[in-house]
Symmetry: C2
Subunit: 439 residues, 2 copies
């Protein structure tokens, strides 16, 4: 195999091209209908040029905007306050399920939340062959210097009530020769804090290297300095509860007692079986990510931290829990959420800014409460469907509608197709083939 650097699909200096030139190159080297492709891609740009420039600047090599559906889940009663929650998600049934669950629980006291902690974590990883015992003895002095030499970075955050909470020295030699960590805990107030944390840690690395060389005659090798997205002490609990008797009627005339028992069992299964836990938690993140994206927070960070938390006891398990005691049905979720309502893109993305306004410009803690409640609502909605009618009934109906819309089916075609697929699997090709037989 030879490296085809002269292949028309390879290119040098791409990042230096203008947006128009990038788009043109892509279209001409990858498509036969280049003009059409350019025109289509451009049609997704925002008509306001300045605003579009802002969007372009969020990432690199941008050629267009990818539109995701922006929807609303109203009637979220959380800690006594009513919210209309913005959700950005491409999957059908998610917003409908969240809205349904929100309304259901708004009549039963709503969601209650509790912030269990807001501590974030960063690490300076290093190897060192110096005198560890001496470093331990002198660590208070080292720590003081680290804090002192980052005062210019931490100044604003300290004014807001945050900053560096603690610096621990961890000896991990038993796992890897000469390997140590500075494990640092932070309070970052209403910001997610990634930039702040990373700036502090990189500065710590420099000071630490100098100090150890100077005082201990052995320079550490700083492997890397960076925040951790695992934040087991930045956690929110969201819960709902009501008497089993007040859960109401369910599809197929299922009594509330049977529903509660099946629901409890479904959560129990997600606790003991990793295959089920994965999909159970995936449903929770359907709701969580939709709000995280709508507020321009980082959903990869939230996913990573949440899933690691789900595996913290050595087996991957459900993030939500259910109990039925003394006739009370209780359902709750503990989830680590490192979110910001200032900083990052929260104010820069025009719709994220609107999302936060829609939520009443919440603090980061309040946003944690909202996001966790939506995750719990989503999980409730998914399990409610699963233990009663199954999820396919709703999914298939919506998927079929999407396909029919895409095929520009008329009313008669829609009716006939819906009847035909009542007991069949909806797939794009199957629906297209059937509609073609009608035409």
């Amino acid at each position: 195999m030879t490296v085809k650097t002269n292949d028309k699909k390879g290119i040098s200096g791409f990042s230096k091209l203008s947006k128009d030139e990038k788009l043109r190159w892509m279209a001409e080297s990858h498509f036969n209908n280049a003009d059409e492709v350019v025109q289509e891609m451009e049609s997704f740009n925002h008509p306001n040029g300045d605003l579009q420039k802002t969007l372009n600047g969020f990432s690199e090599n941008t050629i267009s905007n990818f539109p995701m559906p922006y929807g609303l889940a109203p009637n979220f009663l959380i800690d006594g306050k009513m919210y209309t929650v913005p959700m950005v998600i491409e999957e059908s049934s998610v917003v409908a399920a969240a809205s349904h669950a929100a309304k259901f629980w708004s009549k039963r006291g709503g969601f209650k939340t509790e912030i269990l902690g807001t501590v974030k974590v960063g690490q300076v990883h290093f190897t060192w062959d110096g005198d560890y015992e001496k470093l331990v003895r002198n660590f208070a002095e080292v720590k003081a210097l680290l804090l002192e030499e980052t005062q210019h970075i931490t100044h604003n955050m300290r004014k807001r009530g945050g900053g560096v909470l603690d610096i621990e020295l961890l000896n991990l030699n038993h796992l890897e020769p000469d390997y140590y960590q500075l494990k640092v805990s932070f309070e970052t107030c209403d910001s997610m804090g990634a930039n702040f944390i990373n700036s502090v840690l990189e500065e710590f690395g420099k000071t630490f290297k100098r100090k150890l060389k100077q005082d201990f005659g052995a320079e550490p090798l700083i492997i890397m300095a960076i925040l951790s997205n695992y934040t087991p002490n930045c956690v929110v609990r969201a819960s709902v509860e009501c008497p089993v008797s007040q859960l109401g009627k369910f599809p197929g005339e299922m009594p509330s007692e049977v529903f509660a028992q099946k629901f409890y069992k479904a959560v129990r299964i997600a606790t003991i079986d990793p295959y089920r836990a994965t999909t159970h938690n995936k449903g929770i993140f359907n709701g969580i990510d939709a709000v995280v994206i709508a507020t321009a927070n980082d959903f990869r960070a939230v996913e990573a931290g949440g899933h690691t938390y789900a595996s913290k006891d050595g087996q991957y398990r459900s993030l939500s829990h259910c109990s039925i005691k003394d006739g009370i049905f209780k359902f709750w979720l503990d989830i680590p959420l490192a979110l910001g309502t200032v900083g990052g893109l929260t104010k820069l993305h025009p719709l994220a800014k609107r999302s936060l306004e829609l939520l009443g410009n919440p603090s980061a803690k309040e946003l944690m409460s909202v996001v966790a409640s939506v995750g719990l609502a989503q999980n409730f909605g998914a399990l409610r469907s699963l233990v009663t009618v199954g999820i396919q009934e709703g999914h298939m109906k919506m998927h079929l509608q999407n396909i029919l819309r895409h095929l520009n089916a008329n009313e008669t075609e829609c009716e006939k197709t819906q009847a035909h697929f009542k007991d069949k699997v909806v797939s794009f090709s199957a629906v297209r083939d059937f509609v073609n037989t009608l035409r």
Copy 2:
């Protein structure tokens, strides 16, 4: 606390309102500048009304589109073929890092991939107090009936070479009284398969219930029937390798041998420390999710399956691995990816359709190879920065540019601000305050 159902922010019958009415209600009940908000939200709609209707239909209660930057990472040489990869992501530096790593490896043989399996999983969860030993003895007959009675659902998939591969009966009584599973494995060819799998499983549930009642005199309670997003046998391996001596020069005149050792150590740390593993894998998903979204696949499914896989041996660990042997640097990633290139929204979302065309209309397997390669490239890029100059240098520069653009700073203001923040933490408020002192 009373439920404020009459609160102006609560509403009944919301889902039945038109899109315009939903938007109007949201604006009027949550904003003081309702007209402005309506106008702004509408400005994000696509000018083509039919196309916008298609986008609206993907989810529920949609009031607008949320634009995400659509960018390109060119020069991805994967299994000897050159790709320009579409990436949808709001985080800065991700596309730049992927592009840089792609180009770097394109000169060193490119990415090699191997599909380790394509088996997907679904489960019928049930409790039963019937004669288990007898069920085991007769399971071949039960299985045959399950397959027979889903032939109308599996027909098309079987024609394409897929279908149900196997049905296992699992006894999990030791974990939960009377709890069993039908664990079903599937081949879903070029579709992600969620709808197919769920339809088959729900039908299995019905048949199974009837059959057990009839033959064993005891009806099982089907708790739920649904696919699993944990697919440890639907895995792709992506790798890069070259002699250490050919890795080239790195920032700060770091020799390739030092770079390789620090890089190796960084991967090793992510293998032994869950705090680091979380962020390490988060970086991999920065790349993976960007392609998954650009092709309208389900990133929550991919995240959930990948993170569970990372915790499969009882501790959450790095998904990528590194070795240096006989002077050869090797870096690879094993990741479960359940993706589709047909079905779902892949053809329905206009830009997802274009993304797949841009990639040459790949099969699902080929898309797995591309996505995994981008994940590996992302990880390489992140570690490359971390073990050399740190990630803040690049991040901060881009973040500052975003903020200055937002503040409509002129050239002089930009220059002065960039100089001022050279050694300070960039935050929106700090930059705004500084720019204001210049005005």
